[in-house]
Symmetry: C2
Subunit: 215 residues, 2 copies
Amino acid sequence: MSKPDKKSRDAEKVARRRQSLTQAAITVIARKGLPGVTLADVARQAGCGYGLVSFHFETKDRLLLAALDALVEEYRAAWHARSNPHDDATAKLEALIDLDLGSDVTDDRHIAVWTAFWAETSRNADYRARFSELNRAYLARLEPLISALAQKEPPAADYRLVAGGLSAIFDGLWIESQIGDGHGEADWARARAICRTYLRAFFPKSFGTETSQRP
Amino acid sequence: MSKPDKKSRDAEKVARRRQSLTQAAITVIARKGLPGVTLADVARQAGCGYGLVSFHFETKDRLLLAALDALVEEYRAAWHARSNPHDDATAKLEALIDLDLGSDVTDDRHIAVWTAFWAETSRNADYRARFSELNRAYLARLEPLISALAQKEPPAADYRLVAGGLSAIFDGLWIESQIGDGHGEADWARARAICRTYLRAFFPKSFGTETSQRP
DNA sequence: TCGTAGACTGATTGATCAGTCAATGATGAT
DNA sequence: ATCATCATTGACTGATCAATCAGTCTACGA
């Protein structure tokens, strides 16, 4: 009785193929932007025939949405992989800064794709839902950290506004990284310094001394 | 001798026509995004024939670049109009917050166009140059304000990092305004509160009490 | 060995769009 | 009144691309 074997192997194969197509889509989006993507490009990048894209994803829209989902999932996985439950709030925030500003899930290629989808957000409810949910989850993890710090050294500010400000700083620094001519490590170092300056202003004890500059 | 008269009147007419076309382009970009813009749409929006667009702007690319330039100019004009040389640094920063977060040059329609161009920044050197220059000019006006506050009450931080953080917060809040479901005044009020919380953390004396919530 | 399911191919089709161009109209100079 | 200039028009062309579909290939079960 090898029926379930075959079925699961087939399902796995299909899943792998779909993943190779979404990854190819992300690569092409980074190179040509959302408007410049053609199914022929994606097929070539994935090393398969044209029709296969339509076979696995009925339309181009669905492929792009799947690519966005893959991007979100990739970010979530990296986020989870780097979070250590034994760390205190300070260390967790340092880890978040290192993840968001200069890691391999937030390099130029990935950020170009994020901004490509961002630009369509106001017209595409599906994209908006993804970003809205990700933003919600982000704040849900950020606010407890800020709140924990506020217990140790209460700032004269609403901790939700402090968390919202940090989230905005991350988003803004992502965008600005696209504008700068030299997309180098120096820019990311400045970006991390801005975040630490921000946190030090509210929580001087927890972020007073320069701890780990690089992971 | 009415030659210069005619010439200047003609030039003015052409300038008006060009402006009506760039404004129409901005409207269409806000509605359909950069990839969705067609020359037929722009012509219809401007109330003229198809060929006229090609006549005044040789290519679609040039039209879009002119639209970006018009957008930048509009923002600069609003910025200049709102700046009062007699204000102190605190009042100037308050004015900047009101301009950037909830005014008529940063409503949904305009921000959608900004993000549309942002998304192409990594592939279009012309767009990148515009943003780079605007960002430079922005920091050049922001840093002296922060520096002036730092003279009165020196924070334990590099004033350039404080200015860079504020700039990033503005950019980030713009993007997030596109994601939120209710693009209402409440979101902008929260955005302004985040900025004031930020500035209060560094300069409690200058931003300690709630001054003018609305202009 | 044969049959079948479904992954896979790429030529074809129909739609869309940027850019062209020959013709038209309006305005002002002579 | 005539002419010249130039803004303006929109039908047309060629290119591009998403989606379709008729057929091929492959792996596995009977």
